[in-house]
């Protein structure tokens, strides 16, 4: 029974050490508490609406005005100015008054009436991809419904339905699933939440280990780890981090998405089956990294920038199927890759246990491997 008391002793002292350390508390509690709120609030509008657009209408007829009125009425585009010529319109784009330009040529209506094809030219400032999407999709929608009416008129004697069948012998229907409005928060926040668990654990545990190093250099040794076996220390310490992060994770995974009305269609079995090994893998991963810490702060400088490449390695943004093999292989060295993929599919796509089995098995393999490596490193670290 002595070994159990030893573990509990390490656990108790390590917990006190965490709770007394301002810097560690920032990473374990303040960052996970506030950072996701900031992020989710920033992306809360999900998509960009009413992108300002300028218009050059050289046609100035009933048809061109109808087209532009319908574009203006769409949710994505707001026409902020009608310009006399392209020079004037371009100037408004240069001044960032508008981000899109819609050019209706003089022969717009004439062509339609003569049975020729009419072309409307759209221009988009490429400082943001969403401007492009907004102007293209709203103008295309308007033109499609306009086309239906025109076709009905052209097929003399045909009903609208007949004209429609003629133009579209095969109809099509688009059904967006899960993230139905292609929202930014819905797409990015789950990944950010899972990344935060890993990154704050690395920074917090790195700071604790750096603190030990600094003390050791000054001849101060933490009493509660003296005369303890490395395995006892490893289990005792990791026990603290795991306990704390069970609470942190409930907040991140259950409460934050609810606060911002993000999609949550998970079942608790899947969520627990995935989050538990994820926290374990993150803790032992962090312990491995922490053994390289020489002082309290250096990890902040060494590790934070990696959050961005790591986020891209998960495949949540740039698709996993297009990630080069080298980076793909590297990505499995971090728990975040499996964690983000499993969590996004569980929470937003309602994936069941059998759907995320490879990820969950992977997380358990990581847990075991990281644990063994951490143990080996602790044996070196804490040998007498």
């Amino acid at each position: 029974m002595k070994w159990l008391f030893n573990i509990l002793d390490v656990w108790r002292h390590e917990l006190v050490r965490v709770l007394k350390d301002e810097g560690v508390l920032v990473f374990f509690f303040v960052v996970p508490l506030l950072y996701p709120l900031l992020y989710a609030y920033l992306y809360n509008n999900e998509t960009v609406k009413e992108v300002p657009a300028v218009v050059v209408d050289n046609c100035k007829t009933t048809m061109s005005r109808e087209f532009l009125r319908n574009v203006d009425a769409s949710a994505d585009i707001k026409i902020v100015a009608h310009c006399a010529d392209m020079q004037e319109a371009e100037e408004l784009i240069r001044e960032h008054t508008a981000y899109c330009l819609i050019y209706v040529p003089a022969e717009f209506q004439k062509n339609i009436l003569e049975g020729k094809q009419s072309v409307v030219e759209l221009y988009s400032d490429m400082s943001g991809l969403l401007y492009y999407k907004a102007v293209l999709s709203s103008c295309t929608e308007v033109s499609l419904s306009m086309n239906q009416d025109i076709k009905a008129q052209r097929l003399v004697g045909a009903t609208k339905e007949q004209a429609e069948t003629f133009a579209y012998p095969i109809k099509y229907k688009y059904v967006p699933m899960f993230n139905t409005q292609s929202g930014f928060a819905t797409f990015l926040i789950p990944a950010v939440l899972i990344m935060i668990i890993q990154q704050t654990l690395v920074l917090g545990i790195g700071m604790l280990m750096g603190d030990e190093e600094e003390r050791r250099r000054k001849g101060l040794v933490l009493e509660h780890i003296q005369d303890k076996k490395p395995l006892t220390i490893l289990i005792g310490k990791s026990g603290v981090y795991i306990t704390l992060y069970l609470f942190v994770s409930v907040y991140l995974v259950c409460i934050v998405p609810r606060l911002f009305g993000l999609i949550q269609i998970w079942q608790w079995q899947e969520l627990i089956a995935m989050m538990f090994p994820y926290i374990l893998a993150c803790v032992f991963f962090s312990i491995i990294i922490s053994t390289f810490a020489k002082d309290r702060e250096s990890f902040i400088v060494l590790f934070v920038f990696m959050s961005i490449p790591m986020l891209f390695m998960t495949g949540i943004s740039w698709p996993g199927s297009s990630i080069p093999a080298v980076w793909k292989a590297l990505s499995y060295a971090f728990p975040s890759t499996l964690g983000v993929n499993a969590f996004a599919r569980i929470t937003e796509m309602g994936a069941l246990m059998e759907d995320v089995r490879p990820e969950i098995i992977g997380l358990w393999i990581q847990t075991v491997v990281f644990f063994v490596i951490a143990w080996i490193l602790y044996r070196k670290e804490y040998k007498k």
Binding site: L38, L42, Y43, N44, N45, V48, K49, V51, R94, G115, K116, Q117, S118, V119, V120, L122, Y123, S124, D125, M126, S127, G128, L129, L130, Y132, L136, S143, M146, I150, T165, Y168, P169, I170, K171, Y172, Y174, V175, M177, N179, T180, S182, F187, P190, R215, E297, S298, I300, V301, L302, V304, F305, S307, I308, S317, W318, P319, S322, W327, A351, D355
Partner: protein, 389 residues
């Protein structure tokens, strides 16, 4: 002259400090290089190709098989598997094997030939936003073609010419021009903003770390004594060697993006060199300001990190500023990266005259002057602080 010699002496001392710790080698050279290589190789194709799509073809006729072959031929899409039911395909989506499903119900060909207008449908999962929107584009275009092909052959049979047939099919057509990034290259769009943001984050962190490590090692008095307690000279001397390294990394970035990858550079290289120098100086100055404003290594470093990481979304290159909640739109003015991004867009991407950009430069210069406010505080702190664990 005397002063210059003192600054030079501090710079020489700093050079020794920078080379004595692997941390500086890692965070000033390896970390930026890794990020450059990572992002440019990750998105080397510009757009992701061969994104996996699943197909459910309940009809299975020569017509529907042709549709599927054509969809597969699109550059961005690749049919990876045919499923026997939609439920199976949805399962594959939930397993992360495919991002989209193209569904052709039974009887499609027969109904189409009988002019009964069958409906095919396609599904995407925008949990993975980028592949979903690219596959949506391909599947929509394919569906238009599928319909158009049948109508066109009817029209040709009736004696229509090609242009008449097109006018009949699509009386009003949209022609899209993506100004200065016609292929929608994601790397142009992301690397140009993410990489300077990472560089700026590292500058903020390393600057603060290097100043406060003097406190921690209790060498700050010795450092200031070298310039007879002239805090400006001490800071200048310390930051000059770092400036040289950062600038070098900045130039590697410029050469890589505009020289090697030939990303749009409509302003010529000079404005981007000026912008890079400005970014380095502003980041250093802002870090010194934080050191003085928050005299605690831990808090200054944490704040700098928060600033640096938040710079990425707040710059507004992926999710535009106009879509932020109003409160955060205001906060975006406090992030130098936001101005870097705006200048880059005006200069390199769009080649607009300097007149449109000067205001951002003015604001960046204001950031450079921020340390003046806290210099005296910083001096006092450097001279009187005792580090305790």
């Amino acid at each position: 002259m005397q002063k210059l010699r003192k600054i030079f002496a501090v710079a020489k001392r700093e050079q020794g400090r920078l080379t004595s710790r692997p941390l500086y080698l890692f965070s000033m050279i390896l970390a930026p290089l890794f990020s450059y290589i990572f992002f440019t190789t990750l998105m080397a194709d510009g757009l992701p190709n061969d994104l996996p799509i699943g197909v459910v073809d309940e009809d299975n006729t020569s017509v529907t098989r042709q549709i599927i072959r054509n969809l597969d031929a699109f550059q961005q899409s690749k049919i990876v598997e045919q499923y026997s039911s939609f439920a199976e395909a949805r399962k594959a989506m939930q397993q992360g094997k495919i991002y989209a499903v193209y569904y052709i119900p039974q009887g499609t060909t027969q109904l189409a030939l009988a002019s009964k207008q069958p409906t095919i449908s396609f599904y995407t999962s925008a949990t993975f936003l980028i592949p979903a929107s690219l596959e949506y584009r391909d599947m929509k275009m394919m569906s238009e073609y599928a319909s158009g092909a049948i109508t066109r052959s009817t029209l040709y049979a009736k004696g229509y010419t090609e242009s008449q047939a097109m006018a009949m099919l699509q009386p009003v057509k949209m022609e899209m021009h993506a100004i200065n990034n016609p292929s929608l290259n994601y790397s142009i769009y992301l690397s140009n903003s993410l990489l300077p943001a990472i560089l700026s984050l590292l500058i903020l962190q390393v600057t603060i770390f290097s100043i406060y490590s003097e406190l921690k090692e209790e060498t700050s008095k010795e450092w200031l004594a070298m310039t007879d307690n002239d805090v400006y000279a001490a800071i200048f001397g310390k930051l000059i060697p770092q400036f040289v390294v950062w600038l070098l990394m900045g130039f590697v970035y410029l050469v890589l993006l505009y020289g090697y990858f030939h990303f749009p550079l409509h302003s010529g290289l000079l404005p981007m060199i000026i912008l890079m120098v400005t970014l380095v100086v502003v980041s250093q100055a802002f870090a010194v300001f934080l050191c003085g404003a928050v005299p605690s290594l831990r808090w200054a470093l944490s704040l700098a990190t928060l600033w640096g990481v938040l710079s990425i979304p707040i710059s507004g290159f992926s999710f535009p500023k106009m879509a932020f909640p109003p409160a955060l739109q205001g906060i975006s003015y406090l992030f130098p990266m936001r101005y870097y991004f705006l200048v880059y867009v005006d200069q390199a991407l769009n080649g607009r005259p300097f007149g449109y950009t000067w205001i951002y430069y003015a604001l960046l210069c204001a950031f450079m002057l921020l340390p003046i406010v806290v210099m005296r505080r910083l001096k006092k702190f450097l001279l009187e602080y005792h580090y305790q664990i």
